[in-house]
Amino acid sequence: MTWNDVVFMLPEIILSIGASLLLIAPVIGWRLKEASAKWAILILLAITALSVVICSNVVEGLPQTVSYSAMFALDGFAIFFKLLFITAIAMIVLLSDDFLRESRYSAWEYYSLLGFALIGMMFMASGVHLASIYIGLELMSLSSYILTGFFKNEQKSTEAAMKYFVLGTVSSGILLYGISLIYGVTGSLNLLTIAKAMSTIITNDALMFGIMLLGAGLCFKIAAVPFHVWTPDVYEGAPTPIAAFLSTASKGAAVAIFARIFYVGLHDFQLDWSNILATISALSMILGNLAALTQDNVKRMLAYSSIGHAGYVLLGILSLNAMGLRGVLIYTLVYVFANLGIWATVLMLRRHEYAGERVDDFEGLHKRAPFWAFAMIIFLLSLGGIPPTAGFIGKYFLFAAAIQSGFGWLAIIAVLMSAVSMFFYFRIVVAMYLREGREAEVAITPALKLVAGVCLAVTLIFGILPAPLINQATESSSWVAARAAILTHAGR
């Protein structure tokens, strides 16, 4: 390991040390100051973000593009997702603050687990080797199992954690089995080497089986049909900020590795897996959105809608062109911010244990908090992909990518399901604006205001002036796009 290698991983190293310190902080004797835990993690996240930016600048000057025996890259793709994840985790910390204060559990442990999850996600963003990707994925998953069941005296929370853990480990096993089969056929775990090996393989049943298992494992992580059944139960049972974490940051990380593995490693097998993914995508969009129609619980509704969104994002992955890759980046960012905004609004309604979880709880919100009710409309429109919100830009890219690669029928399903999704998103609008009588009780803290405000700004600004976002996505995806393009030419 050289000094250069350290630069590649410096943000993760800093974060690991910091998260460990958070864990032992109560033992050392800082237990009395529970409130300082929030500030500790926020400062830690700020330092990490800063180090990501600095390290990426240093790495740009280095001759090598990957380090640790070609296991770890700090390319534009990784930086984009790392900064997105750090921002998302920072917002989830802000969302959790109020929630934790009312509970009796240690904020230090909670934030340290969030930190560990973030390390895993950052590894996933950087991984160009199936082993490093898997390690990152496991670190993130294990942290999120614990976080899901963090409120251990609550039955729902524990039940959700148990379900998530059992199904999650099984899917990790499937994923690992797939990886081992791919290793057996191609002789490598490095994505670039796998791609090279694949370009010479015409057909191989073991490899096909391995890719299918890998795809199944990844689909579980992004909650695509038919590997989605855990999602509603886990989102419902998990503490609301953790549900926000699972539906945004955790899902974004899974999308990042999905895109990288398939764009860099497996694109030569496109013909074989694109149609399978197209089926999965269509099923996710249809089932996710139709099932969301009947949900009265907002958390479950968002869970089903996130299944639908997994279907949308798969459009970008399976279309396998530059448009699709950019679409994945843009859509993930847009989705994370819109969703976090919605979760922040849900938390504003929270006054007792489970308030804000039913659609009815939104009744009359626009009388109590007109601005945040309006913000909620914008977030919902963004998820539905209606201009002038950022969601439109993301959906545009994904639809265009699908049409470009000949999946017009999938694009038609996607728009029809968007129309369906507007129906259940607008149930919340109906409750907020159109129903008379009750006035929603709200507890709007400055932290929630900050999160919702940032999300609103991002959603609107990138909706009205998307040029910088598109440029950034183009630049950030260029490394991966270049690998995919180069190998396409070399292989055929």
């Binding site: 545009y396 265009a400 049409i403 607008f426 604006y433 040029a467």
Partner: protein, 538 residues
């Protein structure tokens, strides 16, 4: 004055943003600002009409700024003879709405004014956009305010109506988005860079089967909006539940976004598909004319009656558009304006009486002419305009449509002309039952006369009805160069299609036109060659 169109679009939005910071209880100030902003917008659009050059067929007052450079999307505005009167109609009807609902809105007046201002800006944007994606953005932007207007200020069953309206429209427009994306790809393959400018897209030559698919995607969105016969079911619900102002804008302007879309996109972009499917559209339009009229006839509810009469009248507009000749299309555009004026006025007047009596049932009225003479005068003039009495606006529009479409589709025209007769029946019957005869109900003896604000809202509409009826050339002469250009684009496309067909024919008959010769020389032997001497082929 360089970017006067931007001023017209953004002034209402600026007013809406300022209003958002007003205190809730400053009701008069809020209403005044809304009315003031909409009147200034009307003034600006009037300036545009004055400066509009009659002889120019292309877009005027053009503005174009880079918006999303990566896709070649430009924030581009312009008006031509087709759009200008619709812009004018929008800017006219918005102050009319504010005036007519001056005392009618007690619930959230601030949000009401903001919603209408944003809606106005979006609708103007739809008519002014010269970039297809900007058009789409404005098209979608009209949805949410109207949804809220129906849903918040509407009647008893408003939530159902609002959602139905929203879902119908958005399903169509999302499919149109796919069409737009596909169109952009075609353009990209043609010129090598992404380009969404409508004027540039007109130059595309699209193969027939692609045209058919794209035509379907666009036409569905617009047919829902118009609404064309089998897709009209959202309209009566939306109208009955919407507040008066919402109905005025919905019928007056929003439905025209559909007919305008046909003229702006379906006809010039997909001329071959238009030629092929014109018959289908005309059949649906004529069914709409008759069906709308028959259903109106039996409505006990005044508002529902007027709503179904919209289905009937818009059927005329679609008939005129797909008759595909200059007279009919000009008549159709004029009829869009006419319908906006007369149906807007009808909804306004129904709203006036509903405010006073809280019922819209025909059976609850009778003999109102005695208690409300001024109101009755306005109502009768409006009804006569809607019926198509010579000397008022409806006659000119319907006459031009029927005269134009008779040339191409005589049978359909004759059937549609029955719709005019039916309109006279149901509308005059409405007048008779509400205004004439003895006063049957005691409540109707003391209904207050139409108020100053309602008179102020009605007067410009009535003036325009007479003006268009007496001197339609003021309006027609501005639109005819643009319509002529549209017709050449459509015919050029049609000829291109005929050339393709002719090329195939010449190959078979071995008398090649220059174009056919080109095919002979370039490619391998066409398959038609084998068909000429079937015996030798085997």
């Amino acid at each position: 004055m360089n970017n006067i169109l931007s001023w017209i679009v953004w002034l209402p939005i600026a007013a809406a943003v300022i209003l958002a910071f007003f205190p809730r209880n400053a009701v008069t100030a809020i209403k005044s600002l809304g009315l003031g902003a909409s009147i200034v917008t009307f003034g600006l659009s009037f300036v545009v009409v004055q400066l509009f050059q009659d002889s120019v067929a292309t877009f005027q007052f053009v503005e174009s700024h880079t918006w999303i450079p990566q896709w070649g999307i430009r924030y581009a505005l312009g008006v031509d003879g087709i759009a200008i009167w619709l812009v004018m109609l929008t800017t006219l009807l918005t102050p009319v709405v504010f005036l007519s609902s001056w005392n009618a809105i007690h619930k959230h007046p601030k949000e009401y004014v903001i919603a209408f201002l944003i809606m106005e800006a979006a609708m103007i944007g739809v008519f002014m956009a010269t970039d297809i994606l900007v058009f789409y953005v404005f098209f979608e932007l009209t949805l949410l305010p109207m949804y809220l207007v129906i849903g918040v200020w509407g009647g008893a069953n408003r939530i159902y109506a609002a959602i139905k309206f929203f879902l119908f429209t958005i399903s169509g427009s999302l499919l149109m988005l796919l069409g737009i994306i596909y169109l952009a790809f075609l353009q990209y393959h043609d010129v090598g860079r992404p380009d969404f400018s409508i004027a540039h897209l007109y130059g595309l030559s699209i193969p027939m089967h692609t045209q058919a698919i794209l035509f379907a995607a666009f036409a569905l969105a617009f047919a829902i909006k118009v609404p064309l016969f089998p897709l009209h079911t959202w309209l009566p619900d939306a109208h009955v539940e919407a507040p008066t102002g919402g109905s005025i804008i919905l019928a007056g302007v929003m439905l025209k976004m559909g007919t305008y879309g046909f003229l702006r996109f379906c006809l010039p972009l997909f001329p071959d598909a238009t030629a092929k499917y014109a018959k289908l559209m005309i059949i649906l339009a004529v069914i709409g004319v008759i069906y709308g009229a028959l259903v109106s006839w039996v409505q006990p509810d005044m508002k529902k009656l007027v709503a179904y009469s919209s289905v009937s009248h818009l059927g005329f507009c679609v008939l005129g558009i797909f008759a595909l000749n200059q007279t009919a299309i000009e008549g159709s555009i004029l009829q869009m304006v006419n319908h906006g004026l007369s149906t807007g006025a009808l909804f306004l007047l129904v709203g006036v009486i509903y405010e006073r009596r809280h019922t819209r049932m025909l059976a609850d009225y009778g003999g109102l002419a005695a208690t409300m003479p001024l109101y009755a005068t306005f109502f009768v003039i409006t009804v006569l305009s809607s019926v198509g009495l010579p000397g008022l606006n409806g006659f000119v529009g319907e006459f031009l449509i029927l005269a134009g479409s008779f040339k191409t589709h005589p049978t359909a025209t004759i059937i549609a002309a029955a719709g005019v007769v039916l309109a006279a029946i149901y509308l005059l019957w409405l007048v008779q039952r509400v205004f004439f005869g003895p006063v049957t109900k005691e409540e109707n003896r003391s209904v207050p006369e139409i108020a100053w604000n309602e008179v102020a809202a009605m007067v410009p509409l009535v003036v325009l009805m007479v003006w268009i009826g007496v001197h339609p050339n003021t309006f027609l002469r501005k639109m005819s160069p643009s319509v002529q250009k549209l017709m050449t684009t459509v015919q050029k496309g049609g000829q291109r299609g005929q050339v393709m067909v002719a090329g195939a024919l010449t190959r078979r008959s071995a008398a090649p036109s220059p174009r056919g010769r080109g095919i002979w020389q370039r490619g391998p032997l066409p398959s038609g060659e084998g068909g000429r001497r079937p015996g030798e082929g085997r």
